[in-house]
Each structure stands twice: as structure tokens, then as C-alpha cells.
Amino acid sequence: MTNKKPKNVFRQGAISSEFIGDSIAKHQTKTSIGAHNIFLGQVRADEIDGKTVSAIEYTAYEDMANAKFHEIREAAFAKFNLTCMHIYHSLGTVKAGEICLFVFVSSPRRKVVFEALEFIVEAIKSEVPVFGKEVFEDNTHQWKVNN
């Protein structure tokens, strides 16, 4: 278990491939790691009633969301033998095709990271108060709901 204070998981706008690449590069000094696993959530251009989603505008109950991310992080460290874990989620507008969620787990061994990543991503989807307004190309919208 770690005893760190909740971090701010949120980033304004899309998460860039440069940011993700840099994050991977930073782990080259951590040579006890033998396996990384990464989840990237990407905004899908869903077609609904003949209209196509062009972007999602994310909002969150930020204080509670960061506390929830922290709980999920602590639970994952308690459950799995992880060397490190990073979670970033977008706020504001993320266009279709751009990345809105980046989860990165690392461990000495591969099996752990497969299980841990699924556990973390499913918990994020169901427990963290983040809201998404799906904006269509004609500027109408609907509210996204996780299944």
C-alpha cells in the first residue's frame, strides 16, 4: 500500500501520443519492471439516429473523482504486485479519434499487468463520477452512459 495523497488525474483536453510516449520513456530507469500494460480510451464516432458523434465534452465532480481514482489505485496496489501505476483522464472537449483515458501499469511479471489493468479500467468506468456530453456534427448532443 502507498500512503500518498490523491493526485489530480485530470488533464485538460485530449491526451497526446507524445505525452504517452514520454511516460513510457520515463520507465526505462526502473529496471525491476519486466512488463508494462497500457489502456487507451479513444472517443468513438458513434452513429446514432443518422448523426455522428464528433466529440465528447467531459466534466467531473473533480474532488470526489480524484478521491475515487485514489481508492482504485490503493486497491490495485493491495491486490496486485505492481511496481507503478499511472492514470490520466481528460476534461473538456476530446474529438473523435483522440485519447481520453490513459492507464499505465507496470510489474516485474506479465500476468499481473493483464489482470490489474482490467480491474482498474472497469473500476474507473463504474465508480468515478465523470460525465460525458456526446456532441454531434450538427452541434446537438446527448449524454453518454457507461454500460
Binding site: G41, I56, Y58, T59, A60, Y61, D63, M64, A65, A67, H89, C100, L101, V121, I124, K125, S126, E127, V128, P129, V130, F131, G132, K133, W143, K144, V145, N146
Partner: protein
């Protein structure tokens, strides 16, 4: 007591605001909700959970002051 109420996502379309402070003399979360439903009739038909001071609570919970948030279904990731 003075309670800060926060609204998120589609609920803000029913309330036309993200946050407000109200003076309320009731005891339970459910009483506060009844009060809000009469103020914002459209809210009554929305699906949401209630958090008190950032913890999800059932509606028969006693109000402890500070912050109440109305949270529609989550859509993270």
C-alpha cells in the same frame, strides 16, 4: 442549515445551474430532494445518485450539512 448543492451532466439542463447554496430546515436527503423537485420539476424524472460530502448515500440518510451532489450515470473512459 446552509447546504451547497452541486449538479452535474444532464441534470444541469433541468436546473440551469451547476451549483447553488440553500437554507434548508429538513432532516433527510429525501426531504431535500422533494424540495428540489418542486423547484425543478424536470429533475424528478432524471436518474441520479446522491453524494453527501463526496460519499454516495441512500436518500434516507440524515443531512449533515456542507455539500450534496446529484450525480447522473457515469461516463468516464
Amino acid at each position: 442549515m446552509t447546504i451547497t448543492i452541486k449538479y452535474f451532466g444532464l441534470l444541469t439542463e433541468a436546473t440551469q445551474c451547476h451549483e447553488e447554496s440553500i437554507n434548508f430546515s429538513g432532516v433527510l436527503v429525501s426531504e431535500l430532494l422533494e424540495n428540489l423537485f418542486s423547484k425543478y420539476p424536470a429533475l424528478k424524472h432524471k436518474n441520479f445518485q446522491v453524494a453527501q460530502n463526496q460519499v454516495l448515500v441512500p436518500v434516507n440518510t440524515k443531512l449533515s450539512g456542507n455539500e450534496i451532489a446529484l450525480l447522473p450515470p457515469y461516463a468516464g473512459g
